[in-house]
Subunit: 270 residues, 2 copies
């Protein structure tokens, strides 16, 4: 299998995202290898050797996606036996012309710690944890958004992703059977913050599968119970005009991006 290397003197996240996006356009598999924090010539030489070995073993020239702030180390990597893509570089000169300002590479600027946005994200993670699963109803004033839905419809991972990626404070509240009674009504605590609510739903089959992994053959996991609960919450979203999303076919990244697009919620961190 052909190897794809992602190399940087930082986290190599940019190289990974770019390389993966490009390779995902090709209907084949690659052997992915990330090498972050290549900050010395010695380390670069070790990586060059690794690339050479991969070439020898697979018989195919590895693809090498790299970003480097340290020019000396970058020059070494660009001499690898692989096919080398210093993919940011070729956009820099044209962009300098357009903007009229010379670029000023600073190490670790992209995915490193910016004092301010860092604290915002950690605070948002702590908020999401303290307000997970309806465990705390006192701090909804502070919430940017309150995700609602039945148990296992994707609320918790979504609220954590919103916190970690965007610094958004997302509480989440699960509708349980107690809330359902005869017919599901909005609990008073949620009514007060109605403008912050966002509903998640999911297909009954998928919910049944997820719950069965957790508690096989329980009433909780039965397809009848799943159908009933989903019908109730979907009716509620309609009746109360709560914006909502069916998460069945979406990744946590997609759900989060769709929530931002649908609600116009502003991220605190870009």
């Amino acid at each position: 299998m052909r190897a794809a290397f992602y190399i940087s003197d930082g986290t190599a996240i940019t190289a990974e995202v770019f390389g993966h996006a490009l390779l995902s356009l090709f209907p084949m598999e690659f052997d992915h290898i990330t090498v972050p924090f290549v900050e010395t010539e010695q380390h670069a030489k070790e990586v060059l050797y690794q690339i050479e070995q991969s070439f020898k073993e697979s018989g195919q020239r590895p693809l090498v996606f790299f970003t480097m702030v340290n020019a000396e180390v970058g020059k070494l990597i660009s001499q690898s036996v692989g096919i080398n893509y210093n993919f940011l570089d070729q956009f820099v000169a044209p962009l300098e012309k357009v903007i009229g300002v010379p670029s000023k590479p600073v190490k670790h600027r992209t995915h490193s710690m910016h004092e301010q946005t860092y604290d915002i994200r950690i605070e948002a993670v702590n908020y999401a944890l303290a307000n997970d699963d309806g465990s705390n109803l006192k701090d909804y004033e502070e919430a940017d958004i309150i995700l609602v839905g039945v148990s296992r419809s994707g609320k918790t991972p979504t609220s954590l992703y919103l916190a970690l990626q965007y610094g958004i404070k997302a509480a989440n509240y699960p509708f349980t059977e107690e809330d359902m009674g005869d017919i599901l009504k909005l609990p008073p605590i949620l009514k007060r913050f109605k403008q912050k609510l966002f509903g998640l739903t999911i297909s009954a089959d998928r919910l049944h599968a997820i719950r069965s992994e957790r508690r096989a053959n329980s009433r909780y996991a039965s397809i009848q119970q799943c159908r009933m609960e989903l019908r109730e919450v979907e009716n509620l979203y309609r009746k109360e005009k709560i914006p909502c999303l069916n998460s069945t076919k979406f990744s946590v990244e997609e759900i989060s991006a769709k929530i931002l697009a649908q609600t116009g919620l502003k991220r605190r961190k870009y």
Copy 2:
């Protein structure tokens, strides 16, 4: 301020990461606008109008970073009044030559749901939550890694990031004053899983600042207490040869990437 648009018929995460990395090389601010899920010509026309308005208001041509699987919609965006970067596109043809296989764009392949890796990540998030803050000592067999450190040294956000980005099951265990006694020893439960331990540490000043936000003027937050606890854990890491990292100056992305690089831990999701 000049605007930077990130546009895609998917999440636009690739466009954002690429654009941010490129713009971070320039010592200036931009007005960042992400428009995901542009899937119709109608929507594309609305975005073109938005770009035009931004140009009129700022007097500066917006930068437009876009990736599009839908060629028709992409063609529309490429006609915007901004400076348009269809940045993946120009690598596709050369890569086709190298690989010898034509590309096959499939919608939402990059950040969308791949049944298998999706479940791995959600499972890892659930694991991190169930094993947060020493709340559960029964499932360490299952852990890929166990983060240890004093309270507020960055264990929880790191374990959640490892789960969400890489599908890695990270438990975390806080050393408390009870563990310290006269001298901090490794609790028996951790001794059993010593090869999975990874220690976090942090500067006393920063820990003092973080704890003070939580409980101002408490003994817990005092600089003396912070110094004492950190000295104890750092001695322990040294004595027991536990790999460790000082998280003071690093973002959660950097901490996670460094942990992977230092331990050789394999991600379950690329």
